[in-house]
Subunit: 326 residues, 4 copies
């Protein structure tokens, strides 16, 4: 139901499950109320719009952004939509989300994107969250430049999204680090030039070895635990950038006694989805193939099975699991 | 004595003592050998040059940079002179320094700056280290913009150098935090708009109060201990920058569990002295008056007394202590 | 009358006349229909809002931006509001403007700014157009840095706005060039460090003389005729930036045969008003005093007299002429 | 013969001919004295160094930069080596160049680059001038971003170098415009997505057609005559960048009456070769294959024939013509 003049109602045709949804189910995200419909990614068709919506009409096919933005608050005017005073990450968090038949999208004019009639929904739904997250929080914040040496710690969907989009800037080498050899194989297929299994605790040393002791220009943290952050801070060359993408639940020890004079930069970021229009253009040009991230498909009615597959991603060889509706 | 074709010998007329020199005397800097002449700041007159020196000649008045740069290694070509493969901070560290009558300057062509005959030596010697350090590591890395709210934690010479140079970019307000009310008074005279004494542990909360709960755009850490870094990470607005200037001897706890989604940037840096030519221009235009940092003067022969004054800076009301030679 | 859900009606309390308005009266702006109410600058009080407006309410005091932005088109999402698909410069151009008792503001949520109850209206109305124009088109596009040598050609209101806001970045010197000695005197009071009367055609040569043959880092064109653009292109140092602000009615000869290897940058821009929130903050902090641009005040009923004064600005010593309404 | 302590003597093994050399032969470059040995591109082996050279030794294999830089003047310290006070483009211009058995390289430490023993000389010699020129003056100055629409006017060697390096940033489409269908075919093989033959004068209109009336984000001028510059200024989208690479001999009419409010940026640049280390890294990683630019090879003794081939490039299907020596 429309609640506000700026709302739109979208009938979902494709959605997907995010690692954050698993965190919610474990009770890690206290802002999520009991009974909340989860999901902040989706593609669908508009069925109704409020009187304040002017850019969209019923029947329009749209991509839903994981970030809702009012477009007018101080943060939105700085393009930091992640911190929108009335939006940010609210879908499947403080309001009902996209793992459903219908979803209400507040501030629809600035939170939806028109998509072409012949657009590939499985590719496009990767642009709701995962692609802009890997790109903005990892690649843009990490300032990947042509010729750079990049390390990505974590080869899950987000790390792979960073791996795909890091190649927009033609780094000379991309080292991917994970504890799962199968995921490392996937990373190789996605363009990694060096693979390191970090199970034995020697990943940082091996990065130094393969970089002739110089370290990396960019380290992208795509896991969210102290051990992976530690690898990142240990392998930065002077002048290097550490772009944190992972969701952390605990403090980390930052070794300023070693880093104070190393000219490094550390960034954190909740995705702003400012690059969504650009990503849509790149997908449309064929230079980016996000569909390759999708390993499993389920009907929306089989959502429990979909969650089970995604939760046991290692066992199932799952990356992104898509939910289809009609 | 000249040792290398690129060397120059400088007869010092003015030098000064840095907080780092005190650290060395306490044994905190293991790279400094017993008997080393300290000092990495100075103004003087060239008395001899090697055959590889082309930009300077005996009789030239020069400013000595605290950073020696070869101008040709990979770091120098990226203007990261701090990490020059053959230079960096070596004066008064791995080779004899400037608290002497004469000093040998390697890579003279790219490590010295010509100064005008009528230049004020006490102002200019502040450009050897302290001004570029406060400016590059604090203000430039902190990306101070017009209208910003800036906090500087630590009102010693480096914090004051950041305070002076932050005003190049017209922030709307500059909050200075220290435990010494006398230093806070000095900060007020140098342009601080809000003063906070952090002795009671409530500094972070007071910053949030005076910023209406928003926090600051830029926090400059100019002390180098966990407690001051903690203030900085606690007061950043979403999108804020934490520019570390302080020399740290221990790790700090970085609260990624709170910061992972705050879109913040943390930087560290050893000064590159890339801005020295610009600072010389600004001093020459009269827009910057670094002489105001000098509180005490001693003859070089009275260096022990100078060190005593500087070591008891709080008691003596000392900021920068100048050593004069002839 | 409200026409669209996103409209607001504003009762004007203060407005002003822009040089563009004079161009319109001379017939230079064909998009302006016969009988159009002119004016794109103003401060006032909201009297009515459409159902799609959520950020403002009747009774709110607001600043009107000269640029209307929908906040949702491709240009708005790139913060290039000047080229908004449904907005841009439309007030007093393709729809009725602010030199009236009431004005209809489309896309009110993203085209108005809340102002404090005790705000100085004469200062604030300078933020509708002139201050952001001088700042964005001149200073930001010109990339003024601390220590720079800046030249501003034209000391009318726009040139003075550039002069005021260039000082946000602490250039070492600001050369102002005009043909009117009285305006040059005003420029001196606003912070110019060198004044050049260009009546005799020797301005470019004199700039080279006062810069010891080096030329300037930034040249801001604030007139809009070939002669003033020529001065700008003749005085750029290698690496210099030429920021065009003036409205041009004819082509200029760009001397690429001299400039192709000079590493210069030339920019044009219609103001985007992206810096309005920042300028409001700086005015509020007292670091900017735009009221000093106001030389004459008239009641709205005396608008013909106001236009006469503004049209004969040289004779009248007029800069900005304010219209007051109740 | 060594003339200065900073000199090195290089025995050339590979050099090449530049379009500029043809201009010199026609008498277009008055700085070139009668009898001058031409050539500013080359790869070779050092045979002698002066006492001021520390980074290189006899026997080292080196790449010669077309730009000589002293590394210490004000322009060099800003990394604008093109305008070095004692260097810049001097090889084959004001001093003898590289189309010879030996060449003297002033400021050798900062004007040569070490290359690997197994480096492909034909690929590397493209990094003396053409690759950094296309990249720095065209791609970097044009600010090519992922998803951009780029137009390159001129498919000669420089235009192709821009085409190759523009792809470092993953534009969505690259339109190449030339009057020679054979060159357009080559451009297609190098990655152009749209080809336009401009012989009929309708190129600008066709660019607007293929961009749905929007114009391009980046236009790179790689010819150097008014007609090609005109195409560039006619096809820029609002916010677009026009990066001039071509060497111009005459002024152009800049249509400010249309462009003043279009938020465009025009740049000029003589290559600084600041990106040479990065390009070396990218070539070494295999991501760039500049050898593909070489169409013809001649022994140095057959230089007259090489010039003849290069001068009749269209007839001969020539791009870069390499000279081999021993």
């Amino acid at each position: 139901m429309l609640q506000d003049p700026a709302d739109a109602i979208v009938r979902l045709t494709t959605s997907t499950i995010c690692g954050t949804d698993l965190h919610i189910l474990k009770g890690d995200v206290p802002s999520v109320a009991e009974g909340r419909i989860l999901g902040h990614e989706g593609v669908g068709v508009i069925t109704d719009v409020g009187p304040g919506v002017s850019a969209f009409h019923p029947g329009d096919r749209v991509l839903i952004s994981c970030i809702t933005s009012c477009g007018r608050c101080d943060f939105c005017r700085k393009q930091m939509y992640s911190h929108c005073r009335q939006g940010g990450w609210i879908l499947g968090n403080t309001i009902d989300g996209t793992q459903a038949e219908y979803v209400r999208i507040p501030h629809a004019d600035t939170s939806l994107y028109a998509i072409p009639a012949d657009g590939d929904e499985e590719a496009l739904v990767m642009l709701s969250d995962i692609l802009p997250t890997g790109f903005e929080c990892g690649v843009i914040n990490g300032q990947v430049h042509p010729g750079d040496t990049v390390a990505i710690v974590g080869a899950g969907p987000i790390g792979l999204a960073a791996l795909m989009t890091a190649q927009f800037y033609s780094p000379a080498s991309i080292i991917v680090i994970d504890i799962d050899d199968k995921r490392l194989d996937v990373a190789k297929a996605f363009g990694a030039t060096t693979l390191i299994n970090s199970t034995d605790g020697g990943a940082a040393q091996r990065v130094m070895d393969v970089t002739a002791g110089q370290g990396v220009d960019v380290a992208i943290e795509a896991v969210g635990v102290p051990a992976t952050f530690d690898i990142c801070q240990a392998i930065l060359a002077p002048g290097g950038r550490l772009a944190n993408v992972g969701v952390h639940g605990a403090p980390v020890a930052l070794h300023l006694e070693k880093l104070w004079d190393r000219n490094i930069t550390i960034t954190t970021r909740l995705v702003d989805t400012t690059t969504t229009p650009m990503l849509l253009k790149v997908v449309s040009s064929g230079r980016l193939q996000p569909r390759t991230l999708v390993t499993h498909r389920f009907a929306l009615d089989d959502i429990m099975q979909a969650y089970d597959t995604f939760e046991h991603a290692a066992r199932e060889g799952a990356l992104k699991v898509v939910l289809r509706n009609g």
